[in-house]
């Protein structure tokens, strides 16, 4: 087991882009080696050692590497981007694109995650013990697929466009979701335990379950009886008819 602890020295205003902070890059590296890895700070590159205090305990493979991040990293973007294994624990709010394109491993955020958390993720797990923001599990601009695999759990609320263009994987939101969750869903599964507005538009495939109130259902879904899930009976809708969709939307 290798544990790397990064503690932000001083809170930054201009965002740091830290796509190099992931277990793949840290595994079996020493404190100095990790400290020398570059991150972007505005339009210049600085070392991790310049912005974080680095502590390393042990040396191990990617799967057995855990990164613990302390201090206010709410202006540090792209932590855990493209990670394939191992673990990251963030004890703070975190900036955009956390865990984007990850293929495996686990990220736990003990705070809020800014937009595009789990963007285009393909595997692994992200747990946000706080609120998400826009485009949880979404995709890059213009891309046909957002999240393709893995699981994202948000214990709080999220904002608009949850799981936009999702092509696979699973998202659970314990609180409320903003506008248009699951828009253009193409095979993902979404559970919203709270309330939301205009869900599932242009859904082609997949399942969306809304346990709270679903306001303003889209005029493009056909009601199709009921369905029981875990002992609860939901109204079942099929659509989106305009996308010749085979998606299933369950609402109370």
């Amino acid at each position: 087991m290798q544990t790397v602890t990064l503690s932000l020295k001083e809170k930054n205003a201009i965002p740091i882009e830290a796509d190099t902070i992931n277990p793949d890059n840290f595994a079996s590296k020493s404190k100095d080696e990790i400290g020398a890895i570059l991150v972007w700070y505005g339009n210049a590159q600085v070392t991790i050692g310049e912005v974080f205090d680095v502590a390393v305990d042990g040396s191990d493979s990617t799967e057995n590497t855990k990164i613990v991040i302390n201090g206010d990293v709410s202006r540090v973007k792209r932590i855990g981007q493209e990670m394939s294994a191992g673990e990251i624990e963030i004890n703070s709010n975190v900036d955009m694109h956390c865990g984007s394109n990850m293929t495996g491993g686990k990220i736990t955020i003990n705070g809020d995650a800014d937009s595009w958390v789990g963007c285009e993720m393909k595997g692994g797990e992200i747990v946000v013990n706080g609120n998400g923001s826009y485009y949880v599990g979404g995709g890059y601009r213009g891309e046909a697929c957002g999240m393709k695999g893995g699981k994202i759990t948000v214990t709080g609320n999220v904002r608009d466009y949850l799981g936009e263009h999702m092509c696979g994987g699973e998202i659970v939101v314990k609180g409320d979701a903003g506008l248009l969750p699951g828009i253009s869903n193409n095979g993902g599964s979404i559970i919203i335990e709270g309330s939301t507005t205009m869900p599932a538009s242009e859904m082609k495939a997949g399942t969306i379950i809304i346990k709270g109130e679903a306001a303003e259902l889209m005029p493009s879904f056909a009601e199709d009886g009921t369905e029981d899930v875990d002992g609860v009976t939901y109204r079942k809708f099929a659509g989106d008819v305009n996308a010749n969709g085979k998606g299933v939307l369950l609402v109370k």
Binding site: Y140, R141, G142, E143
Partner: protein, 571 residues
């Protein structure tokens, strides 16, 4: 005065019948000369393959490609061809680069130059949108540019053909070329652009265009005759009706036959048919879809009046863009893909739709085969221009990969092995063993263009030619292109040297400097009385139907900072 001496070059220069022979090339002030002084800068080519700079005579590089860029930000990060795609930060010599199918203007210049190309032709300029095309031309570094102007669904053109006014038609074409600073006549799905104004299409050569009482066949003939009357350096450049439809090869051959008896006063074809891969489809539906390359090739082998280009398909993501508006809409519905469209007032239409050619998809696999079959079944390489109709069949950065398909049956077999069984029965490529040599490749990628566009200073290395030269890091004396396709691809992907107008713009596959290229356009002269009569009709169009005034329609000199004006006299 700058002088350059390239020593020990193994030169493949088909225009001058030089078949990969060792020689020296002298360059002075941007031109190939007999000899240079002893003070000339020397490049030792060390026996490497040397050709004239490549000429891509049909590519979508300025204008409509911007629609493709606009709708696909995700293309900007695609890295499908390492070194020639994706994002690159600016350097001391180069601007920032992005993209794969729809790279930014800077990347288009750099990447073509890296592949040893020095001249490119934009395949479709709407006259009213020509200013935009020339703005993008100006932004493309290094390369010389020219563009073909759309006339095939133009109201004035159709009216003159309907009213049997060939003189005025020629005068209008000349004026349209001047207005757009175009190099030649492009005809896309003749009449189809106008029909698309009502959401319709024309079904073939004899299907009249709604409200205009002319047929596609008449449009093609009328414009071809005007083309010869004006003595233009290029023939008409035809995108046939029924593109992309199973069974369309019959329309394609019929379109080719139309021009069989037309005579030209210039030493070139009277017809160029473009991206024939998309127009050589057999079968009656997508279910019984098959290659009709043999039928089309048989016809082309039987005649001498035409040239064509491939529109080779490349597996992976591509971006279709054409003035064929109805085809693009149909594509978008069939593929469930994004659709951009532009109906161009009084002139034409266009559309842009992304596509992915998958080797697992039987239709795509057959499309891939058809392009290669056309190249290999047509006997005379001087009739064949190599293209992917970039980015319709695939991005131009795949040219080096595609060369290996043409030059190596072994390489082809590797691909064929991955294709679905069902596709193999619908294609002929597995049974074709022809392998192009470097000389034939030089014909298809630069020499035939010199003839087909009557560009005397392009596509060859004879004295008087522009000193546009590509030196590739393979040695014709020792390389076996039929098996060493990895080395072939690598060499063509990053030239050892690309020299443009006598200056080294690429060295060891990297951009060395970025001079500005020139823009070629044709000023065709007609008798003033005919021009005046034509102008009366055109003035009415502006007064009643156009939304820009005639004074603001013509592309101003400011948009061609380095123009090359080709003047012709009408017969």
């Amino acid at each position: 005065m700058s002088e350059l001496l390239i020593k020990n070059a193994v030169v493949c220069d088909p225009i001058n019948n030089v078949n990969c022979e060792k020689m020296d090339i002298s360059v002075k002030d941007g031109k190939i000369v007999e000899s240079v002084s002893s003070g000339a800068k020397v490049i030792d080519a060390g026996g490497k393959l040397t050709m004239a700079g490549g000429v891509d005579g049909h590519t979508h590089c300025a204008g409509k490609i911007n629609v493709g860029r606009f709708m696909s930000p995700h293309d900007m990060r695609m890295t499908n061809v390492p070194g020639l795609s994706g994002k690159e930060a600016p350097t001391a010599t180069t601007r920032a680069q992005v993209g794969y199918n729809t790279p930014n203007a800077f990347a288009i210049g750099y990447r073509y130059a890296k592949m040893g190309y020095t001249t490119i032709g934009e395949a479709a300029i709407p006259i009213i949108g020509a200013r935009h095309t020339h703005e993008e031309f100006e932004a493309i570094p290094i390369l010389d540019k020219f563009g073909l102007t759309l006339f095939g669904s133009n109201w004035q053109v159709m009216e003159y053909i309907r009213d049997d006014e060939p003189e005025k038609l020629a005068a209008y074409v000349a004026w349209g070329l001047k207005a757009s600073r175009g190099y030649g006549i492009k005809i896309v799905n003749p009449g189809g652009g106008e029909a698309w104004g009502w959401g319709k299409n024309v079904s073939g050569l004899d299907d009249p265009v709604p409200n205009f009482d002319v047929t596609p066949a008449q449009i093609i003939m009328g414009l071809a005759e005007a083309n010869e009357k004006l003595n233009l350096p290029h023939s008409i450049h035809l995108h046939c009706n029924n593109l992309g439809k199973p069974g369309n090869y019959e329309t394609t051959i019929a379109s080719m036959k139309l021009l069989e008896n037309l005579k030209s006063n210039r030493d070139r074809q009277v017809l160029h048919v473009t991206h024939v891969q998309f127009n050589a489809y057999g079968g009656t539906s997508w279910r019984d879809f098959e290659s009709a390359a043999p039928q089309v090739s048989d016809y082309i082998n039987s005649t001498d009046h035409m040239t064509f280009d491939l529109g080779q398909a490349i597996f992976g993501p591509a971006m279709t863009m054409t003035a064929d508006g109805p085809v693009e809409y149909a594509n978008s519905r069939m593929l469930n893909a994004k659709w951009s469209n532009m109906d161009v007032e009084l002139e034409d239409a266009s559309g842009v739709v992304p596509i992915t050619y998958s080797p697992k998809n039987f239709v795509n696999a057959v499309q891939w085969a058809i392009g290669l079959e056309l190249a290999l079944l047509v006997d005379d390489p001087w009739k064949v221009m190599f293209t992917t109709d970039s980015p319709n069949g695939g991005s131009f950065v795949n040219y080096p990969e595609a060369y290996t398909y043409l030059m190596s049956a072994k390489r082809r077999a590797e691909i064929i092995e991955t294709l679905p069984e069902m596709a193999l029965g619908r294609m002929n490529i597995p049974g074709i063993d022809r392998e192009l040599d470097l000389y034939e490749l030089a014909i298809m990628t630069r020499a035939m263009q010199s003839k087909m566009y009557c560009m005397d200073t392009k596509g060859h290395l004879g004295v008087g030619a522009d000193a546009d030269i590509a030196i590739y890091d393979i040695k014709p004396d020792s390389v076996d292109t039929t098996v060493e396709y990895v080395a072939v691809k690598k060499a063509f992907s990053g030239a050892a040297y690309t020299i443009k107008s006598g200056e080294v713009v690429v060295k060891d596959g990297e951009i060395a400097m970025t001079p500005e290229g020139r823009t070629y356009w044709v000023n065709a002269k007609m008798p003033q009385a005919t021009v005046d009569a034509m102008q009366v009709d055109v003035a009415k169009k502006f007064k009643k139907y156009y939304t820009v005034s005639q004074a603001n329609y013509m592309v101003e000199d400011a948009y061609l900072p380095h123009p090359v004006e080709i003047t012709t006299e009408a017969l």
